[in-house]
Amino acid sequence: MSNKIKHFGLLFILVFAILSPVHAGEPDKATILTTTTDLADITKAIAGDKAIVKSIASGKEDPHFLTAKPGFIVQARDANVWIRIGLDLEVGWESPILRDSRNLRIQEGAPGHIDASAGVMVLDVPQQRVTRDMGDVHPYGNPHYWLDPLNGRIMAKTIANRLSELYPEQKAIFQTNLKAFEKALDLRMFGKALVSRYGGARLWKLHLKGNLLQTLDADGQRNELAGWYGMLIPYQGYSIVTYHRSWIYLTERFGLKTPIELEPKPGVPPGSKHLARVIETVKNVQIHVILQEPFYSRKAADLVSEKTGVTVVVCPNTVNGAAEANSYLELIDIAVRNLTKALEIR
């Protein structure tokens, strides 16, 4: 018995030792594994055809909750670079995948481990001691930061710079691709006329300082304002309700307010008592839109809608979360267009 098994084992090892080099694929192309589809799309834009980019999450599920499947471990084993959202978004599954991959290149702290949250503008950083009584509060801040297009721009820059350090021979290509991505994003954000007059970076800078509109007025360019910013500018100061605090990066960027969520606390499903409070707020503040992701149940939103007439908008918050959200820029575009449409209707 014991001998048979030994021989069987040896045979196995031999067969796979022989097979092992076969699957290596294209040897001179780096394999980049990202945790989410948003990271994968931005990374593809930067790396172009110089790397094979794959994502662990499919975009269809809540990225907080994934199972560390053996298939992911195999992908991580072969990756040259690992890019994550960070801020504890992947806390439930990243460490077993990295550990079991046994891949030294991508362990936390290694040059091949990129945390895309480095340098982004983080919201909801707790100002007090965090306890789990507060629900799923992320101690390092709200991790849904990719929904702010400016953060998307920063993520692209971080990824381009880190990839340039890892693959200096491709630096020129990465930086060119970065410029193209930034340009595309700026055009979508502010429209063609303003970007060609001022340049994207300058518009962002003015926007950050809070004097974009004054500058445009002074230059008589207010009418040229287009893109996402132009679409949502009529609704600045309006309030909307979201299911989870996952949209605050988008709402903050475009000057929308989120006075209440359908969840009483992050990660805690809505109960009737809290929904009564939501209905009251919707009536008092004159809210017209509920925004939520497709993976949450619509029950609570529909109930509030029934009682108040508020429009329920279901939008993916991640690339591939819906068929039409096939790129990062499309993702933001869908959210902005759907929001604008819902805000217009009333």
């Binding site: 014991s2 053996p70 503008m121 629900g135």
Partner: protein, 443 residues
């Protein structure tokens, strides 16, 4: 002369225009670059306020977590379930001459040990974790593991005291079980703690396009039920390691929503027993030999991608077969038995299925049997073949959050005991919380 002047004039004009145009272009480019730079300066100054520096030193922390597992239990047996299980034919006592603990579950309120887990990256070469089981007046090291993090070729070496990598449930701590209790085949073959040993493990993640893991372990062999060394003059003394195991895990890629894993395990080691046949308080016969164990495990998981496990499905099964091949070393009651064989061959399996019928709610069914093969060859040259025992359980659990759980379980037992068939009901209501570090779950 005039021509020369005009030439110079033209030359100056051309050079001037070109250089002016050039510097204008450069200025413009510079303007774009500096806008880009100053944008990031502006972002950086805003980020400084929010970027929490403690995020960066987090890896230096010691991750600690505590599990409290309280439950109400009731069964309708007269002598208590722990004793009934000890009477199951083919899986009975195998005294090591010392008192053994049953981790006994009593009717009424119970508290499973407090589990204290600590883990950290040690240095660039090792990680380590330990799990301490603390009970009233008693504490035990469940695991204390040092593991390499930087071996090449997909190799990992672990050492210390750990749960063997054989099977599937063996590696899971009690708070990670999908049911209130562990399957019968585990409890009866390995005892309450599974195959938990001091030793070393080497595993290799093969560079195949699918998941393929090989593992081998050298263990000391201190499992009371199957791989035990008894300190007695009557028995030969064997140096450790006395137990060797090996396992293979294989998982084909099945796309986003599906995951499947197969495993095969094998273990062989010395086993010794000391028995008190006439129950006078002193041991009177001693056995020595080897135990061979092999097992197969399977798990399939379906991820419906709805919130909080809604629609998810898990099907899991394990089978074990063990053969104790022992020889009587000394028999004070019947000296003629000395040198004769005592061979026991038993097996068992469980199949369980779980379904998330609502967010955070799961329902589960488990069916198990032990002793389908249940043959004993005794030193008096007789051979016995016993019947099998079975149990069916239904489970309902509610994970209020990642950190707390309520579970209701009911089971119907049909056990084959020495004094006949015993049927019994088991009922448990479990209340379990984890606090401390946010745990990440293995597959």
């Amino acid at each position: 002369m005039k021509r020369l002047a005009m030439f110079w004039f033209a030359l100056v004009l051309v050079v001037g225009t070109v250089s002016a145009a050039h510097s204008f272009a450069q200025d413009n480019a510079g303007q774009g670059e500096s806008d880009e730079e100053s944008l990031y300066e502006a972002i950086k100054s805003k980020v400084k306020k929010t970027d929490d520096s403690n995020r960066l030193v987090r890896g230096l922390d010691l991750d600690a977590s505590v599990v409290i597992d309280a439950f109400y239990y009731h069964d309708d047996t007269d002598e208590g379930m722990a004793h009934v299980k000890e009477e199951i034919l083919g899986f009975g006592h195998s005294h090591g001459g010392e008192d053994h603990d049953h981790s006994e579950v009593e009717n009424g309120f119970n508290l499973r040990h407090i589990e204290l887990g600590l883990s950290a990256e040690v240095d660039p070469y090792f990680r380590a974790w330990t799990t301490l089981a603390i009970e009233d007046g008693n504490s035990e090291i469940e695991e204390a593991v040092i593991q390499t993090t930087s071996l090449p070729y997909g190799l990992t070496l672990s050492g210390g005291k750990f749960y063997s990598g054989i099977g599937r449930i063996n590696r899971q701590h009690s708070h990670n079980w999908d049911f209130f209790d562990q399957p019968l085949v585990y409890e009866l073959m390995f005892g309450p703690h599974g195959l938990q040993e001091k030793g070393a493990q080497l595993s290799w993640l093969a560079p195949t396009p699918f998941y393929l893991l090989f593992g081998a372990e050298a263990l000391n062999g201190e499992n009371e039920k199957m791989f035990q060394h008894v300190e007695a003059d009557e028995l030969p003394s064997k140096d450790g390691p006395r137990l060797w195991t090996s396992f293979i895990k294989f998982s084909p890629g099945l796309g986003d929503r599906h995951a499947m894993q197969f495993g095969l395990s094998y273990a062989t080691g010395y086993h010794q027993e000391a028995h008190d046949g006439n129950e006078d308080g002193t041991n009177d016969h001693w056995l020595h030999g080897r135990t061979h164990l092999w097992g197969a495990d399977f798990v399939y998981k379906y991820d419906d991608r709805k919130k909080n496990g809604h629609g998810d499905f898990v099907l899991q099964a394990e089978y074990y077969n063990r053969k104790k091949d022992l020889e009587v070393e000394q028999h004070d009651l019947v000296p003629a038995f000395t040198g004769r064989d005592k061979i026991e061959n038993q097996d068992g399996y469980y199949v369980q299925a779980l379904y998330g019928f609502a967010p955070r709610w799961r329902a589960g069914l488990r069916w198990e049997q032990v002793g389908l093969t249940n043959d004993v060859e005794l030193p008096d040259m007789t051979e016995e073949s016993y019947g099998s025992s079975s149990r069916g359980a239904a489970m309902l659990d509610w994970k209020l959050s990642e950190f707390s759980l309520l579970r209701l379980q009911s089971a119907r037992c049909d056990f084959e005991l020495e004094d006949g068939d015993q049927k019994a009901w088991e009922f448990a209501l479990q209340w379990q919380v984890t606090f401390g570090k946010h745990s990440a779950h293995d597959f």
